[in-house]
Symmetry: C2
């Protein structure tokens, strides 16, 4: 598809000078433009970039009533030579359509996705700041816009991309609860999709965790609560001695881009990686006998997020402070690729131009 197919209406003025880029709260400030494209009469059409502005929605839009919505999360990075990069955007494209299929949302065309993404970022490129940890968070999403309160798939949708400048994510020490009662998703459900409803479902249990001093929950399988799966917006890795263990993808777990990149980097570095079910009992035993060296989360927003301790069944466990932690090692390796400071043997970097 050619550039000219996306109709661009530039903003009259930019908001960029009102933004304090050293004090950004995640996901609260948006750039000057947004991309949108509508599904109607059986096809996606009318892709356009317009000034960032509120939407007009029917009160009966199905997204409000039936949660028919999926999204993605990715980032753009600026290197020292002012070149802009994405990280494995093909994975996000594939995943939004996998999510869409599960929610009965029509697939979004590849050329619209990549052209929309590139043109939008280029138009708002001044919002991608240089510097380690700085990025432009990219949020593609699809919502069911059709106004009809019948519990069936919509016939009209809006695909959008909005952009939000971001600094490094979590800063505090993260302690987590292993889920014992609440659950995030079921076998045969939508846990593997980035479906909007998966997230709201976690808010209440997470707020209970917060009240008890835990920042996150590590979800366990809903049937037995005996196997560790993932956190709210991160996949989870366990380091036992020098081995790295993470749960396999299944119906319930999001197939994270950061997760698969960490697995690859670990294998490249000769680290023994086991992708298999992770029993709560094994991790507790490893914590007790000292072989559990690290737990960390992996996700686009936080990159790698070390976990300092956990609670399960009333017992708390503190993790050792590691010198040469895998969390630090793989975060560095990943970011070096993302910021064009290292070789990119797997072709993960995607230059925007």
């Amino acid at each position: 598809m050619m550039v000219k197919d996306i109709q661009i209406t530039p903003a009259k003025t930019s908001k960029i000078h009102d933004v304090d880029f050293n004090n950004l709260q995640f996901g609260r400030v948006f750039t000057d433009h947004m991309f949108e494209c509508d599904f109607k009469d059986g096809k996606w059409s009318n892709p356009k970039i317009v000034p960032y502005a509120p939407l007009t929605m029917e009160p009966s839009a199905r997204v409000f009533h039936y949660g028919q919505a999926v999204f993605e999360g990715m980032k753009a990075y600026r290197d020292d030579n002012d070149e802009l990069f994405l990280f494995r955007p093909d994975e996000n494209y594939a995943r939004i359509n996998k999510s869409a299929a599960r929610l009965a949302i029509p697939e979004f065309p590849e050329d619209f996705f990549f052209e929309g993404l590139k043109q939008l970022i280029l138009l708002d490129k001044d919002w991608v700041k240089k510097g380690w940890g700085n990025s432009l968070y990219i949020r593609p999403f699809v919502i069911a816009t059709e106004g009809a309160i019948a519990a069936s798939p919509a016939e009209e949708y809006k695909f959008m991309i909005i952009l939000s400048p971001a600094q490094a994510y979590y800063s505090q020490e993260v302690r987590v609860l292993f889920a014992e009662k609440f659950s995030r998703s079921a076998d045969g459900g939508v846990g593997y999709a980035k479906a909007a409803g998966n997230y709201a479902a976690q808010f209440y249990p997470t707020s209970l965790a917060h009240e008890r001093g835990y920042q996150q929950i590590i979800w366990t399988d809903a049937s037995t609560h005996e196997y560790l799966e993932e956190a709210g917006t991160m996949n989870i890795f366990f380091r036992v001695n020098d081995k790295l263990i993470t749960a396999p993808n299944n119906d319930r777990i999001l197939d994270g881009v950061t997760r698969k990149s960490v697995i690859q980097l670990a294998q490249d570095a000769g680290v023994d990686v086991e992708v298999r079910r992770v029993p709560v009992a094994e991790i507790k035993e490893a914590a007790r006998n000292g072989s559990l060296k690290e737990i960390f989360g992996a996700g686009t927003a936080a990159v790698i997020n070390p976990i300092a301790g956990f609670e399960h069944a009333g017992s708390t466990y503190e993790l050792p402070k590691m010198e040469d932690s895998y969390a630090t090692l793989f975060k560095e390796k990943l970011m070096n690729i993302q910021y064009n400071k290292a070789e990119d043997p797997h072709n993960w970097r995607f230059k925007i131009s």
Copy 2:
């Protein structure tokens, strides 16, 4: 709370004359007004009734990204003397707040709910048509409006009520699939809440069922798929000989108002009702040996919906055509109460005036 607290802006003209009340598609036509109330700065305030119109929403509104939204479904009925009634609205009020709590949405005040409901219906009362099966479908809902793409509860919400005139729901013969692989909700999840995301999650499996000639899925428990739970928007009853069996409420099942009313009416009529787990194997065996007389769904939209047959594990089962079916009996009993044609021993009718 006094009437004067709700600010009313009447519509300049009514759309009612453009509507063909004999050819209504469910949930597509809305009345002239809507109720709204905003949560901001820690409280619900500014309840108002305004002309039905599109909403202005931030593209980053959390409902679009994280599915933080709950809803209710109820109906208003007009009797032969032109009096208007609701059916057990206290149950819907209690349930929307139960749903809200699970989705970390602030509770909505009782007086706002009932005053908003009454005033709105009275203003649009001409839309409630006389006649058996005619009703005004009422859709209260809450959406997270705050613009912030962080996966945490919003600090701003909108509560709304919209109204849609309805005729009797399903008409065709309904055949269902018993779920074997897909599932609707998990233990410890949000299945018992009328959470928006629960519905979109069913669209894809249901579309596969449609392709095979089934209108609905009866969901089974996600862990084993051995127990029958409920349908997409109906609770399910099984009649084995003269006994009525239905699944108990739990984490995964919506506590339906129609269900609990049918249980009560059945008990009043001296019918043996068992509220207990319903094994797929038992129902199949009962179908084979002829003791399974009926299956029917119960929900506000359809009232009672007889099911003509089902499929499970590649085998299909047809149900007998019953003369004195419970489905017909209890539908009649329920509607007689709803339309003020029978005594109301349990005080379920709620007169609007």
